[in-house]
Point group: D4
Chain length 253, copies 8
């Protein structure tokens, strides 16, 4: 961005552009161009956030269209979240469109090679939490992370979790996913010394209140290093875990 | 009770009492006398519930008075709960009045010998939960139970809890006391096969909501065998644990 | 478990096993094997917790498969909860599969003889609470308890409850099940001197808030000896009641 | 009111008043004068609502002043609610000013003779509910009702309540006051066939939520004939009970 | 009841009955027979509470059956609430079965003549509140009350309400029914000097929270004489209004 | 109104009307006629509130009928809100009936020319908020306002919003519509110096609680000049914005 | 702002400034300078928002200091909100510092002459709401508005409000302030055709929940034209009312 | 740990230890020793978690004692959180004890040199959030992080935040701290592409509900990469930020 403004100023200095044209140019540009656009573009290029399509509430045709436009702009890897199987089956694209059923995610452009600094462990309390976990795992994988899945390791059978101490201890980030009382996050938080992203799920009944109990429980974790995202927000957890696992400010401009 | 009614009927049969007097007698008796009193008396005699005085909101003089009246009716062991140290210091009684400061409990008549069928383990997540735990423990002891205290064994440092697997495994009942996210109840519930009474405490801040998060968490425990009492209700937990630890219906009339 | 570790140590001592193989063996075993497995196995053998299948969200084929595997491992009595009638009709098994419609429970292996120390009373406030009550009752029966059902004895017609004073007084445990204002637990708690497990139900409308009012009411019971499980949690109440009714720590190893 | 308007119209007809003056008169009068004032005055005269001063947040001098003004307008019986003992001691008035300490109510003009159609029973679950109960009782008495007090008859000791079946059965209205789980209203509602006004109190701790649990419980009462007022609203209950107990539409204009 | 006990005592006195038989008789009787049954029967006879069938969740056949049994016991007037039109059309009975569609109520035995001491006004804030209002009105009518309906008189158009000042002023009881902000109860409570029964409805959206806002608003009414029943509880309001409108303790035994 | 009363008084003065007839006349008139009707009529005439029909819960025939009656009384512009497409297709009217699908609004009488003092900006955080926004926009347009739509300018991509600084700065009123965390209202409130009407939407999941989070967030806006309407209340926002944009008390009578 | 950028571009064109200096200049300026500063300054100049000091949590010295700095920058009229009397007494300033006790507001520079397009009516339900009302009123006055106060006109005594129909009808904006059930906003909203800003207050007890009931009630107002600010937010209401009452987009640049 | 078990097995193999002694040794060790201790110790050594003392509820003497013991075990850097100034002044230690007043933190052992991979930005919405921010900042600094503070950059004055785009863009982690509506987290989350840790604060009043609104708002952030910790939990945020900023799994064993 700086360069573009410099070019414009140089053009004015060289009388190649009138002051009025320069004014117009500055105003015509989307605001973001004066200081913000680079932020935004930098982000698109490096992390591919722009490739994500929220599939719920869009028709198969709309999704196809967005994928096509993105491909024309060089975005070949596109992630479609919250996409049901029926709609996924209708989507046609030039590149192979792979559908991850449990994760309810469609992907074009293929899975990238992992390039993070470590592994991301995705752990769930029960089997009903798996859809949220798969959303987190597939998102993390499609952003270039190695993912280890530890499912159904809830605290009511502690030995199931403790068997996996090694994987947990060596993780770069752990995503702890649980409904009901959400105790998994605290127990894992007490075992590891890496960041734990807690995802409450709407699994449970009665006083589980659709995930509120797990959410509150996780926010009050007595273990340090635990933070929380919204109920059932597998996407957010996978995305944040990838950020943490790719952290290398040295390579930033 | 049955005997009293029988006596009355016999007196009528023997013409020692008129029908009108019998009617009067039946109506004058507190209702409980016709079917319920025995329930109530049986309870007083065997479990001493009547000996409990809720100390909060009563003056030292009032408490002294109640203790005296109880002693006159043969109740020598009296428990005064929610009693602060200052008020306790003012109470005078013929029998020694012992004050348990952390439990905020005063006791006359001395601690009984344990006569339960096993031990009661009282475990807490942190050190701030100890006052509630002591209330539960002293109540249980004064109803004739052996109590093992496992304090500060919260799930954020799981090894502290796991060191005590033996005590937990051999308990007759476990009282699991925790604030914040209340995960202790679930973890203990997954380790033992005896009843777990969960007591949420008001320990914590922010989204702990004065114990509500721990309460909800405990109600949603993924471990079977866990039930819950009110926030900070150490008395209730100790009392219920004693009931379970003394269970022997064979000796009932 | 101790014995297995002893065998392993003896084998090392006798040079029948190398130190490396012993190391491997210790690590290969599920963690639970070093101190926890016995807990877990003990539990399976004595209380059959492992025999419970949560039927909701599983297909008839999946349930059949689990029952078959369990049978191969010697578990002939298997309880399937939250199982709807249609799915139940599709399940085929070598052993007779009995379906309890109101309880929404399927059972293979037949009902055991009661071997508890007393009876469990299951009481409901209204007729709409019966499905939850039946879940509790059938669970308790399948764990070897004698169950007395007292349905529709809500406090708005107190005499209906008081007629059953005898059954209540002689119970080992009472499960009090009610929606709306949940007052049943307090009234029963005031009549008996055994543990009362309160189960709030989602019966009611408006400010009943799907069971929350009954839940809060039960947690605040002015009667001692009352503890609470999650809304509509008939299974949990039946399981816990069985634990209390089978309590005999003397026979523990 | 009608008469005043008629007078005005007659004056116009008789040319004793100009149309403009009549217009002015109609507009000058407080709106209430055209149809509403009689409502309001009728009320003051018959039920004395206007005599009530809410004492909290007023100084002793202010209260004295209001009492004096009221006396000048013929209101000799004045009720001051939410008045603490210290402030009450400072109030001087020509007529005797009686202070009811538990009810936190001051009264000038003396208690009237009861003139209702029956008795009002005021029942409480515990002793801590008594201040609210006394507020209700003294308010009812000062509006001319006979009040029977049944305190500490909570459902955890059902026989205490059942002893008073006769008083309850013969009441014109029952005010049921309870904190904690608020079950008293349902139990009484099931015993009597007169209106029950339920008053939740802020007595309790933890999940009592300052009276919210009792409030919800009472709103969901399974007994018919129960309605609810705000938490700790003794005044409202006493006032409404008096309305019901004085009901005689025949004597209305 | 007293008479039956007296008969029994006389029989013992006359040696017509042995003491053991008398004991047995006293215990065999449902508890309610010793002091409570009359309460209950009195109620059935005078107010017909027993005639109410909660139709939701019952089949047409079940409802027919209950009506037949009631008829055999002399109960010819039977009210079936929460009954949908389709089910109502299937019900056959000897006596005419009239269905009130808006009220979702079926009635056998015909409407009684009004015999209350005044009229009951049923007012609603909007037209969406009418089903709840009709439930209240038809219930009140079938218990022998004259009902005046004032629908759609919400406070946003105050003049619609004020037109009916006369009806309101002369009512014996007013039932104020409103959703959304529930202000109707306060405004009516400020206009009349008779009891106001406020019924919050689940009408509204967003922050109306299914009636909770109206409920809270009504509980906090700044007008005296207002009490509240559960959300959408038209039946309860109609029943309670009838109680108040029939109050005549003089005729009680 | 004043004139009518004056006429009546003059008629009495001139003996053209008897006092009794005048009394009758005054009482017969709806109350609103004595001081209130003008308020109401003034409103109908100037702002057309009376033209709004809430379409939900009304049949196509009912809506047609109301439109016809309104037309007969000179109301040619009628707005039907919350009207689904299917029902809209069935409505027949003499004047063209235009249906705005996203806004779910039907309109007869055509859009008026804008006559407000400025423009109303309707901004949304996301695309899912558009139905609520269109309701607000079409309502505002049909009350004679120029509306600028800025959709999908949520704060997660701040540059999208900042591009429109000019439109925002020149607005007379801004309607800020957002679900999830509702931050849009605060950010816009900090940019503009005109009133901001915040509309929380039910867009979101989990801890969005159907719009409650956005509602609370908007109520706590740290920017001055922000006020809030109910969740999803596009109509209310459009109506209020029109009021503000038409403010000219000088032209009032 | 545009002018400054033009100047800079012209300087570059004229070679009076190097491109690097221009770049530096553009980046050094606070961001606001490139498009936003004028917004901000415009605001300070025209509406004086910058003159407001939130007094709570600041010492008298700090407040004095800020007032002095503001005066040096030409801001002579400074408003200090949430200022208690004791602190106000300690503040010394060159200009007279007037303290409005009920409003808890201090003001230097004197009250301006009203220059709005109409009057602002500030109405309260009760006398306890007056501090919030005075905050709103004094804020509105110090921003140049004529304010009419209508206090204690709650809906429980409707005639008190209706007496002031004229003032309400002629208002430019009405601020309706009430605690408890908050019905005042709806009733006023139904009477006037100008914007109504509803301010819930924390006045009340029990189920008033510190203003939440009034807040919810106001959000659900059945009257159009009502919007809501935070509980007890008198400042916000006064500020917004002034915005609406000064609306004149014609004079904007 | 593995080594210790190997040693033990070797000793058994070499007949230097009996099988019984080995058994005893295995059981005597705290459980943690068999697999967990290293986790725990590793943590202490590398991240110093054990050095944190929660100061609230401890006396100055207790804190001194813990510091002394820690020093004896080689822990020279000890952090005491939630420590008020008065208590801090009483603490004596051999090493200098520095007190950070705004952060309410005491520190022995001096601040370490930053050794993280980037900088941590701590931003607040207002000045009242600073104590929480300082807790986060000082914690982060004492764990070896470079911290940039951006205080009072709330979204109501967006330009204040946008001036710091560079610092934000170059951060390794951002801690966004805000009360009231908590919009800061979303706005920052939309500007940066590093993890954002959101800390809701209890700053605000009314519907801020002690931080709940900010908490909910942050959980629903429409920006990706945002996670949330408990209300006012500055410590947790600083600790987690340090974890993320020190991430280097390569150096792990």
């Amino acid at each position: 961005m700086k360069e573009e403004i410099r070019e414009l100023l140089l053009a004015v200095e060289r009388h190649e552009m009138t002051v009025d044209d320069a004014m117009l140019k500055l105003r015509e540009e989307p605001f973001v161009d004066i200081g913000f656009a680079n932020v935004d573009l930098h982000r698109k290029i490096r992390q591919g956030q722009a490739e994500v399509i929220y599939g719920a509430g869009k028709t198969a045709e709309q999704i196809e269209g967005i994928i096509r436009v993105m491909a024309e702009h060089g975005q070949n890897r596109v992630l479609v979240t919250r996409l049901d199987a029926e709609k996924a089956a209708q989507i046609k694209s030039d590149e192979p469109f792979v559908y991850y059923e449990q994760a309810r995610i469609g992907l074009t452009g293929g899975m990238p090679e992992p390039d993070g600094i470590g592994t991301i462990v995705v752990a769930t309390g029960g089997t009903s939490d798996i859809p949220v976990a798969e959303e987190a795992a597939v998102v993390a994988e499609s952003y270039g992370n190695k993912v280890i899945r530890l499912y159904d390791v809830g605290v009511a059978g502690l030995h199931r979790l403790l068997k996996h101490t090694d994987e947990l201890m060596q993780a770069s980030v752990v995503i702890a996913i649980a409904g009901m009382e959400g105790a998994l996050a605290s127990v894992i938080g007490g075992l590891v010394d890496c960041p734990v992203i807690a995802v409450p799920t709407s699994v449970g009944y009665g006083a589980a209140f659709g995930g509120v109990t797990a959410l509150l429980s996780m926010l009050n974790s007595c273990a340090s290093g635990v933070s929380v995202v919204n109920i059932d927000n597998g996407f957010g957890a996978g995305y944040l875990a990838s950020m943490i696992n790719h952290k290398s400010p040295a390579v930033r401009p």
